[in-house]
């Protein structure tokens, strides 16, 4: 909202963000409940590994979604972009390692085009991001379903290293995810682009007055979001050995990534938050997921609890930050 007065940013020295307390609390409660009423050892290394494994696909795209939300936008087209990427990648690769570079080139190009399109629609055409990215998502969905009905092609065995390989005891996807988070966090904290993102998300008009080309920043953020959707698509193609047109929507990556970002403490209106919180948000969802499984809770109950937890988590932040909301 252009009329909102930017709240002075409080100093963050030595204060552990509340999201980490929430994560710790979730984890402890899950541990307690599972050891009391559930099956299996919640803190066994294999179980912890499983929590991280569950976080990876959503985590990658949620890191990108954080950028879009920080500039005061959001992206509902990621689910379809994930599908497009997975299908195109495996279709082009056709199991042939020599075609991997070509496939990567094509999917990142598509991601770039989608990101720029989203950004332009939001900035130059001034369409509300919800409608703009919903529309782009519908366009992608139609084109995808018109072109592909099923799993197309496959990824070569070597490409599956991305999802199933490990360096020593540590799985490759975990390392790559950690690297991505580190890069994203550094970008936000240490680069000019990152500073501009916070400025534009905090107050676009003021940012513009202080000489920031805010449209470019918003477009840049959307490109980052789309690129992470592409990465998730590649990860899923590697994990499923092939890409299918429904994998993005089946995982509900559009709404879940937004939920993870806000549960992670990033303000939906933009300007405040960060990727580390998002990672914690994603881990909370994965921890709950494993807990529900081990307690044998049915999927309908899970859905009810997930909905209430999203509301409750954000209510806690809102209560603490005393922010005016819309």
């Amino acid at each position: 909202m252009s009329t909102r007065v930017l709240a002075p940013r409080r100093s963050r020295r030595l204060r552990i963000p509340i999201i980490w307390w929430l994560l710790a609390a979730t984890f402890l409660i899950a541990w307690l409940l599972v050891s009391q009423y559930g099956r299996g050892d919640f803190v066994a290394p294999s179980n912890l590994n499983n929590i991280v494994e569950r976080s990876t696909a959503l985590g990658i795209v949620a890191v990108g979604q954080t950028f879009a939300i920080l500039v005061g936008s959001l992206d509902l087209s990621v689910a379809y972009l994930i599908s497009v990427t997975a299908v195109m990648a495996s279709f082009i690769m056709q199991g042939d390692p020599s075609r991997v570079p070509l496939a990567l080139l094509v999917v990142f190009a598509i991601g770039g085009v989608v990101g720029v399109t989203n950004g332009l629609l939001v900035t130059k055409a001034r369409i509300n991001p919800l409608i703009a990215t919903l529309g782009v998502g519908l366009i992608l969905r139609g084109l995808l379903n018109a072109s592909f009905q099923n799993f197309a092609g496959s990824v070569p065995a070597s490409f599956q290293y991305l999802a199933y390989g490990s360096i020593g005891p540590i799985p490759v996807p975990m390392l790559l995810f950690a690297a991505l988070v580190a890069i994203a966090a550094l970008t936000l904290k240490r680069t000019r682009f990152g500073a501009h993102i916070y400025a534009v998300g905090g107050d676009r008009a003021t940012a513009r007055l202080s000489g920031i080309r805010s449209d470019r920043v918003v477009i840049g953020a959307h490109v980052v979001t789309s690129m992470t959707a592409v990465l998730t698509g590649l990860y899923l193609a590697s994990r499923l050995r092939s890409g299918a047109p429904w994998i993005g929507t089946d995982g509900v990556y559009d709404l879940e990534s937004i939920a993870a970002v806000v549960v992670g403490g990033t303000v939906l209106a933009g300007g405040r938050g960060g990727v580390l919180g998002t990672v914690a948000g994603v881990l909370i969802f994965a921890t709950l997921d494993v807990m529900f499984n081990q307690l044998g809770i049915g999927s309908y109950t899970k859905q009810v609890l997930r909905g209430l937890i999203i509301i409750a988590a954000v209510a806690i932040y809102a209560y603490r930050s005393r922010e005016v909301v819309g």
């Binding site: 099956r39 299996g40 066994a44 294999s46 179980n47 590994n49 499983n50 494994e53 569950r54 696909a57 195109m88 279709f91 190009a109 598509i110 085009v113 989608v114 720029v116 399109t117 332009l120 629609l121 130059k124 055409a125 366009i139 084109l143 995808l144 379903n145 018109a146 072109s147 592909f148 009905q149 099923n150 799993f151 496959s154 599956q160 199933y164 899923l236 994990r239 499923l240 050995r241 092939s242 299918a244 047109p245 429904w246 994998i247 089946d250 995982g251 509900v252 997921d289 494993v290 499984n293 044998g296 049915g298 999927s299 899970k302």
Partner: protein, 376 residues
Amino acid sequence: MHRLLTALTLLFVLAGLTTALAQSGEFYDPEQLAFELAAMDMEPEGPEGQPWIQAIAPEYIDTSEYATEGPWTVCFSNAGVNNPWRVVGYTTMEAEVELHPDIATFVHVDAEGSDNKQISDISGLLASGDCDILIVSPNTTAALTPAVEAACEQLPVIVFDRGVNTDCPVSFIKPIGGYAFGAAAANFIVEQLPQGGNVLALRILPGVDVLEHRWAGAERIFADAGLRVVGAEFAEGSNAMTKSIVEDYLQLYGTIDAIWMDAGATAVAAIEAFEDFGAPYPIITGEDQQDFLLKWQEEGLTAVAPTFPTYQWRTPIIAATMILSGEDVPSFWVLPQPVVTQETLESYIQPNMPPLHYALCGCEDMPGFPERWGGR
């Protein structure tokens, strides 16, 4: 604005490229089609009246290597309970578990319709080390193959409903299949319309292999018989969309002689569209949902209902106890797949059951029937 247009143009060029690259007909497999059509006429082996333990042309394999003392822990990785067919099936499966005292623990994990989640579910179950045997109902065929392969290395695996692209599971259980389903419905329409006519095909979604097989089984039969397929529309399993589509086609063509459906959940909505329009009832093909069977009987429709029986959810539990006892099981366990016809309609109608209860659940004699399945 200028750059916006450029970007959009680029997007459409890319889109055009992918469309040009697209292949069609990838779901047509003449060999499988021939096998399924032959299987529909074969006499299954096994006890009369218990189709869930019958098998068509079974090849038994020895499972003595998996024999262990009870009580057992049976683990089940489920694609989801996200539609009435799966709800009826899973309820039936839970009831079956209770019939086997040797199964001490039944662990159910629900992937909520996501391939990615189901892979994590399976790796979680394997890591827990609790399971004596793993049953998988894959969310999609291709995606679950690596996870099932990994599971096969650790314990005996049973796959049912959709398949996987590997023969490592001890037993793969399924009814005859989608081609036979689609063909049975299409053949009925062709027989009823010797002079030809308009056929409207109503489908759920593109790309779901089970459903694509049904259409592939029907499409060629209509073409060979010279019937005019005026449309093959996707109604996304929505009653409202089904009704709207049928209304629009009735306006355009005046009459529709036959409706072919790839699944029966929206069949009643399609019939109601004819009622509301004031058009005569079409020849219609549905499935074994109670609401459709009841409507068929009440209105005296010309109809047929191929099935994808929910009693197949009993079989994996039975197979699990057989394997853990070291008994021989069919490695490819093909279950019979009856077609409800005018002659057999009466015997499948259960007015006390919910509208989307599937008549072929094989659950009438199980503990808790009918309340457990939502009946009265």
